[in-house]
């Protein structure tokens, strides 16, 4: 927030609480004020939300997703200069279908000891996510879109997903479209992640792969993420946990949230501001002088942020 104020980024912040409340009819939902605010502004920035285990209500993240129909989860994974991992020059984007697939939540116990989970793939959702993936690729000058699937085993469901991807690819002849099995992607990803560009896939594979890619660049503490929904709604968030053990102690690493905010700025078209903040952030990490504990340094969260702000100012 501080960095933004310094830059005089033209955003008006509206903070909203999203603790679950029970609406009329007994359905769990997010507070109406939150919903109204989002509907008006269309763009949101979110920190981690905790889902208590026996809360009795579904995960908050899930509720948000359902309320705003956030169908695409976008996670750009770019190697951070200055934060060394065994993998260098990673520059890929995972686009994951976020509403259906294996996470439809439909499960039954058929007989005692036999459980069936249903994975749902629909034509519309597949079409939508494929469309989004290609649009994203085009808008961000990416050259290849790879559909990740397991159609050799799940012939109908992943087959449908794949067919829709192929159909959409027809309209985007400027972008290369390839298909690859999930296991091959995993195999190649840990050996040579530079060979991947944009990856589009159904829910479960997306979950696994996006976390895999986050691991390649340094983990969830430095990975931004955006959720795009219907009607132009977009919520950007950091995907790490709530880390209650360090909450309030000025120890957290704000990089993930900051980079998500940068994604948000880009989404809104404020490219200059985005670039400045991003550069400042990367430079700070690279300089190694002021780093938070999880990146190997000793600085406090506020010191880290101050350093970034300082660099932002210097750039002006």
């Amino acid at each position: 927030l501080m960095a933004f104020c310094l830059l005089k980024v033209p955003i008006h912040w509206e903070e909203r609480n999203v603790t679950a409340i029970k609406g009329p009819g007994g359905k769990w939902m997010i507070p109406p004020e939150a919903k109204e605010s989002m509907d008006k502004s269309k763009i949101g920035l979110k920190g981690p939300l905790k889902t208590p285990i026996a809360a009795g209500h579904p995960s908050m993240n899930l509720l948000l997703r359902k309320t705003f129909d956030l169908y695409a989860n976008v996670r750009p994974c770019v190697s951070i200069e200055g934060y060394k991992t065994p993998y260098t020059d990673v520059d890929l984007v995972t686009i994951r279908e976020n509403t259906e697939g294996e996470y439809s939540g439909i499960e039954h116990v058929i007989v005692d000891g036999v459980v069936q989970s249903i994975k749902l793939i629909t034509e519309n959702a597949s079409q939508r996510i494929a469309q989004f993936a290609f649009e994203y690729a085009r808008n961000n000058q990416r050259s290849t879109v790879t559909a990740v699937h397991k159609a050799n085993i799940m012939r109908m469901s992943d087959g449908l997903f794949l067919r829709k991807c192929r159909d959409v690819a027809e309209n985007y002849k400027d972008i290369k479209f390839t298909e690859m099995y999930l296991d091959t992607v995993c195999l190649n990803m840990v050996q040579d992640p530079t060979s991947f560009d944009v990856l589009v896939m159904p829910n479960l594979y997306g979950d696994i792969l996006s976390d895999l890619c986050a691991g390649l660049i340094g983990g969830l503490g430095v990975t931004p993420s955006g959720n795009i929904g219907a009607n132009g709604v977009a919520i950007f968030e950091s995907v790490h946990g709530t880390a209650p053990d360090i909450a309030g102690k000025d120890l957290a690493n704000p990089t993930a949230l900051l980079l998500s905010a940068v994604m948000m700025l880009r989404h809104m078209g404020l490219h200059d501001h985005a670039k400045k903040i991003e550069k400042a952030c990367y430079d700070t990490i690279e300089s190694e002088t002021v780093r938070t504990k999880d990146l190997g340094g000793n600085a406090k969260c506020s010191e880290f942020t101050n350093e970034i702000c300082r660099r932002v100012q210097d750039q002006d």
Binding site: V115, S157, L182, M189, I208, L212
Partner: protein, 369 residues
């Protein structure tokens, strides 16, 4: 006079060929199979060989060469499976042959996923018909192979018959497809039991269950529950669990923390491929599909490798190691590098080098006698 065969990766001994290979297969399979070893005719074993597609045929030819060279008393009954055929006669023949011989070595059979769903994956059909419920993969860092991470030694035990691979799909309304993932208590208990038995036998300390029970509460929840149940019977082994996405993240940052991992089918697919990639690629890791009565050995990552077929560039290590798992002897000390791990050797050169090593080793041990 028969020597007792020690498990493959723990021994650095090569006896003289005739003695060592005489009791092939029996002790290793004692864990998964509670059945007597397959019949030996005239002191020689018969093993079903399914060449498969892509690089399968050439790799298996090399295995045959190496076996011939080292006078291994194993005869291969080769059964071809034509992946283009829509009838299931071919694969049924193969299954019958495996039932007859109890042991098989196979290449991957290609699945054309543009064909209709009635045309099932041949590999999957084989696994489910023979009830090869455990897929065991041992990924360890090999000396001499350059990788980003060192000192990896992970055993992956993957449920091999159910889960997402049940091939039960239907289109309830046009445009909406449902795919069923089945988890059963009996299979989960079975695989967990196998995992813990194997861990104990190999002296491993920790078994990690990989799941996604926060989302698939009933399905993976059942799996996890079964693992915990079995774990209570093995107090000397630590059992913990990890969500699959976190697992992959940990694997690429700190793979040394893992010991033995057990998981349902699909996560097994992902994790085994990630681990294989970590130790150097699909050309290096062998895999075993084990059931109560049968055992089928193949490469861990089950690739057809169409793009490098017949170019003499494939790395035969995985297939050779698989055949070694099958025979339960032979220790590879060093492998001349093929292109996929950064060298310029060709497939046949690697085989020659292995044969030279074996010759050297058997000469040494012959001299010792």
């Amino acid at each position: 006079m028969q020597k007792l065969i020690r498990p493959l990766f723990l021994q650095n001994r090569i006896g003289s060929p005739a003695q060592v290979f005489g009791v092939a297969g029996s002790s290793r399979r004692g864990k998964a199979c509670d059945c007597p070893p397959p019949a030996k005719y005239g002191g020689r074993h018969t093993v079903t060989m399914i060449p498969g597609d892509g690089i399968g045929p050439e790799l298996l030819r090399h295995v045959q060469e190496v076996f011939r060279y080292s006078c291994v008393p194993v005869d291969f009954e080769v059964v071809h499976v034509n992946s283009a055929m829509t009838e299931e006669d071919d694969i049924n023949n193969a299954i019958t042959a495996i039932r007859r011989n109890r042991v098989a070595l196979k290449g991957n059979i290609e699945t054309n996923h543009t064909m209709p769903p009635s045309h099932k994956s041949r590999n999957n059909l084989l696994r489910t018909s023979l009830d090869l419920y455990a897929n065991v993969i041992h990924c360890q860092s090999l000396p001499g192979v350059q990788t980003r991470h060192r000192d990896i030694d992970i055993m992956i035990i993957r449920e091999n018959t159910e889960g997402e691979y049940s091939s039960l799909e239907h289109e309830s309304v046009p445009g909406v497809v449902e795919s069923l993932k089945i988890i059963t208590k009996s299979n989960s208990l079975r695989i967990a039991d196998y995992a813990f038995r194997l861990a104990r036998e190999k002296g491993r300390k920790r078994v990690t269950g990989v799941h996604k029970a926060n989302i698939m509460k009933l399905g993976d929840g059942l799996f996890l529950q079964c693992c915990k149940e079995v774990a209570s019977g093995y107090p000397d082994i630590v059992f913990d669990s990890m969500i699959v996405d976190n697992t992959t993240m940990q694997l690429v940052s700190k793979p040394q923390q893992f010991d033995v991992m057990v998981m349902p089918n699909l996560y097994g697919n992902v994790v085994s491929n990630v681990c294989a990639g970590l130790v150097g690629g699909p050309g290096l890791v062998p895999g075993a599909n084990l059931g109560r009565d049968y055992a089928v050995f193949e490469t861990a990552t089950r690739n057809t490798g169409k793009s490098i077929a017949n170019k003499n560039t494939a790395n035969p290590t995985a297939m050779l190691l698989a055949s070694c798992m099958m025979l339960d002897h032979l220790q590879l000390h060093e492998v001349m590098h093929t292109a996929d791990i950064g060298g310029q050797g060709t497939t046949s050169e690697v085989v020659q080098s292995i044969m030279r090593l074996m010759q050297g080793a058997s000469l040494r041990s012959a001299a010792a006698f």
